[in-house]
């Protein structure tokens, strides 16, 4: 049995990624988190930036060989919990479509989610009774943004629907046999008259467990490619990734502790508000920055990482909030408390669409540092 132990603070994408990679390197991992993290608001795709050479300007520099290795490992990791990530074939950065019809960059994308490196005509499908279904507005925006044709079709409300149905309820319904056959039949009907071959995009509610199977069936029914575009919150793509990933981590012996961390000390030690305390050989701070709740903004505008009691910046501008975080991954010095994901500053994923690269680069670097001090 391994003697190396690690604590991960936070259960968002950075925390999960850290946990998996620590396990692979033989650590025993305890995850401390107050709540679920942002996975349920994230579609599950990894972005890389607007161009493939964006990494030149990243705060952490990796060579292109290191990047391909990183993405190779990521694909393998996703495969281990049952999600197929698709990497772009060519040098071009693919885009996905959003709930309002914009095209935004993506990179490694779960196979249920639409991604394409060229703008193309699409069929947008709306479902009556689904709050996020706004096909008319979505198609209008897509037409303007892509310069391509956007067809709109609307499916009626499913039988048994009522106003309390949110995305999770829709997904659960479509996971069942009745839902699956309802969808196949209504979609086949709705696609009549829409030119053949044009890919179809559906709101991301096509099941939680059987998504891949459902989409394959629908592609056969529609005789064209059928995939999903992600919605906001809860984002079913992220929920699928989260649930499958967590299940695997539990099987692999990870201990998940719910509680609010109050303080992180350089030992490293994490103190919870309920009085419990945890120690390990290294601690990865994946507390998500201001968004994740690990950092606070005070009334006079200071951005403070409360856990390590350090001011990391000031909120003077509207658009700067995201880029603030620790300046060094080794945020307390000593190489045992390491900031990953949004807890690290210098990246601006909202502007640069490089959140996925940020996760991979910070987590990989942090792991290198853990192993360094343990040697």
């Amino acid at each position: 049995m391994s003697s190396k132990t690690a604590i991960v603070v936070g259960r968002g994408p950075a925390g999960m990624l850290s946990t998996s990679y620590l396990l692979q390197r033989g650590y025993q991992v305890t995850v401390l988190a107050e709540s679920d993290g942002s996975l349920g608001m994230w579609p599950g795709d990894f972005s890389f930036g607007r161009t493939t050479d964006a990494f030149q300007a990243f705060p952490i520099e990796l060579s292109s060989a290191e990047w391909s290795q990183a993405f190779g490992e990521l694909v393998a990791l996703y495969r281990s919990f049952g999600v197929t990530l698709v990497l772009p074939q060519a040098q071009d950065i693919p885009h996905t479509v959003t709930a309002i019809g914009n095209m935004r960059p993506t990179f490694a994308t779960p196979n249920w989610q639409y991604a394409s490196s060229e703008p193309e005509s699409l069929v947008f499908v709306g479902i009556d009774g689904l709050a996020d279904s706004i096909v008319g507005a979505q198609a209008a925006t897509y037409r303007r943004r892509s310069g391509c044709e956007a067809y709109e079709v609307s499916l009626s409300r499913p039988p048994g629907w009522d106003s309390s149905w949110g995305t999770i309820r829709f997904a659960a319904y479509l996971d069942g046999d009745a839902g699956a056959s309802w969808l196949a039949a209504t979609l086949r009907e709705a696609l009549r008259g829409v030119p053949s071959g044009i890919p179809v995009v559906l709101p991301q509610v096509i099941g939680l467990e059987h998504t891949e199977k459902l989409l394959t069936q629908l592609s056969e029914v529609g005789k064209r490619s059928v995939s999903e575009f992600p919605l906001l919150s809860p984002s079913i793509g992220g929920v699928r990734v989260r649930d499958r990933w967590e299940r695997l981590l539990r099987q692999q012996g990870v201990r998940f502790v719910s509680g609010r961390v109050r303080e992180v000390q350089p030992v490293p030690r994490a103190l919870l508000t309920d009085g419990r305390s945890f120690e390990a050989d290294c601690l990865l701070l994946a507390s998500g920055g201001v968004l994740g709740g690990g950092m606070q903004v005070t009334v006079d505008g200071a951005i403070v990482d409360e856990l390590v009691n350090r001011e990391v910046g000031r909120m003077d501008h509207l658009d700067a909030l995201d880029a603030h975080g620790h300046r060094e991954i080794d945020c307390l010095g000593g190489g045992r408390v390491l900031a990953v994901g949004r807890a690290m500053g210098g990246w601006n994923p909202n502007r640069d669409h490089n959140g996925g690269a940020m996760l991979l680069a910070t987590v990989r670097t942090a792991l290198g540092m853990c192993e360094e001090v343990d040697r």
Binding site: D132, W161, G293, L318
Partner: protein, 486 residues
């Protein structure tokens, strides 16, 4: 007789309503949207007059009378909460004495309230209250009142035109006989016999376009909105009107206001964080625990204060009373009028006063009826919506369903007439696209961006604690989930 009214705020619609009731064909032209000026950005207080008893007695008396009247004729848009004036130890005794005297003289009902009872009712108030008084303050539902006025005006065959800006007068000799307006369809002239400038803080600019000098002093005020209706009465500080001394409960929230800063421009400036912090400090003189209340956002409104002598400076000293100018008498421009200053609470009286002067100047005998005729128009109520006909739930914070969204209106401002979407804790982060996406498809992306910008600015002034996290969430949802450019 035909009249063009410039500006569809409280004043313009109050004027139009009074004229329409006199049988005068009236067209209201509004450069932006109904209520997009000060009337959509005010504190929501239906004044009892209490606030102005000492500093502005005529405004106080008018406010009280209109307050009582609106409860009769526009009950649907008024909530008779009642309010308190509280005097802390150390606040000026002489002011209190004058305040009580004025209340008696002007007939504004004021009852002493035992401090113990008050604190039993509103436990969050400071312990250092010396005396307290009840007054008939209330809450004015601004958007509701505006939409009632629009419906009432339209139901009598007159018109309110949005996105229509008055640019020039057309004259026949010394007399107005038309107003040139710019609208998306182009420029045209509306024939009329008289024109009324009710452009609120813009009224000085409108008058300048007419070649006249009218001193309107725009003065902005910041208000902070707190989540949860923790108070259900208005609470005022009993001292000379000042900053941060009133709390008004409004639907599910409480609003603290305000400040008073003179500025040259009629446009509402972006709220400033330093001012929000100051307002929090002032508010906590009444509610010590205010710092722990969740602030939803801050917003500025611009008062259209009228300063007849043209002396500007301390805007709190400019009267809250209103003035009607007959530019025929004053400047030799017959048929042109301006209605300046005033309060939301006195919009009807301002309409009546203008109407009286206008018909008199045309030697027409047509008395005002706006005192008697209810503003609420009988609308055929749709059959009560059964649970599953409400459609999808679009805004979880404010429980707005698809069926609450009227398909004919599309702009965010108009949607707010009927619903409170995007006003709750998430500030539209999760629901704005759902609601706007059901409206005008081509204008959708722009409207969404505009709404988000407005919400973000409102949040940023109070961007600490939970709000900072919400801003981060909003920004990340907008960029990463919706793919909006930042």
């Amino acid at each position: 007789m035909r009249v063009v009214v410039i500006g569809a705020g409280a004043t313009g619609l109050g004027v139009a309503w009074d004229l329409v009731l006199r049988g005068i064909e009236t067209t209201v032209v509004e450069a932006q949207e109904i209520g997009s000026g000060t009337s959509g950005r005010f504190h929501g207080l239906l004044h009892s007059g209490g606030r102005y008893l000492v500093t502005d007695p005529s405004a106080a008396k008018e406010c009280y009378e209109e307050n009582m009247l609106l409860r009769e004729i526009a009950n649907e848009a008024v909530v008779a909460t009642g309010g308190y004036f509280v005097k802390k130890y150390g606040d000026d005794d002489a002011f209190e004495a004058r305040w009580l005297n004025q209340a008696a003289d002007l007939g504004v009902p004021v009852h002493a309230e035992k401090v113990g009872d008050l604190r039993a009712e509103l436990g969050m108030l400071t312990e250092s209250i010396q005396r307290s008084y009840w007054v008939p303050d209330g809450v004015l539902e601004g958007f509701k009142m505006l939409s009632m006025l629009v419906r009432a005006i339209q139901s009598r065959g007159s018109n309110v035109l949005e996105h229509t800006k008055a640019v020039k007068l057309r004259l026949a000799g010394e007399r107005v006989n038309g107003v040139e307006v710019q609208a998306p369809e182009g420029t045209r002239v509306l024939d009329c016999d008289a024109v009324v400038n009710t452009a609120g803080p813009w009224a000085g600019l409108v008058a300048r376009d007419w070649g006249l000098d009218v001193k309107v002093q725009p003065s902005y005020g910041l208000m902070l909105i707190f989540a949860n209706r923790r108070l259900d009465k208005v609470v005022n500080r009993l001292k000379s009107p000042s900053d941060g001394d009133i709390f008004v409960p409004h639907q599910e929230v409480v609003i603290l206001g305000t400040t008073d800063v003179a500025q040259p421009s009629p446009e509402a400036p972006e709220p400033r964080r330093s001012e929000a912090i100051r307002l929090m400090a002032l508010g906590s003189e009444l509610i010590p625990d205010l710092g722990s209340w969740r602030v939803l956002r801050g917003f500025n409104g611009v008062r259209p204060l009228y300063e007849p002598s043209g002396v500007t400076g301390d805007s709190r000293k400019v009267s809250r009373d209103f003035a009607v100018l007959d530019h025929g008498e004053r400047d030799g421009l017959a048929g042109a009028f301006s209605v300046l200053g005033g309060k939301w609470t006195t919009f009807r009286l301002m309409g009546e006063t203008l109407g009286d002067q206008l018909v008199a100047s045309f030697n027409v005998d047509s008395p005002s009826r706006s005192r008697e005729v209810p503003i609420g128009v009988e609308v055929k109520r749709p059959a009560p919506v059964v649970k599953d006909d409400r459609g999808a739930l679009l805004c979880e914070c404010e429980q707005v369903y698809e069926s609450d969204i009227k398909p004919t209106v599309s702009s965010p401002m108009q949607l707010r007439f009927g619903t409170w979407f995007s006003m709750g804790p998430c500030q539209g982060t999760f629901c704005a696209h759902r609601v706007l996406g059901r409206g005008d498809e081509d204008g959708f992306a722009d409207e969404l961006a505009t709404l988000r910008r407005e919400r973000e600015h409102g949040l940023t002034v109070v961007g600490w604690g939970a709000n900072a996290r919400l801003i981060a969430l909003e920004q990340s949802i907008s960029a990463q989930s919706l793919g909006e450019e930042r």
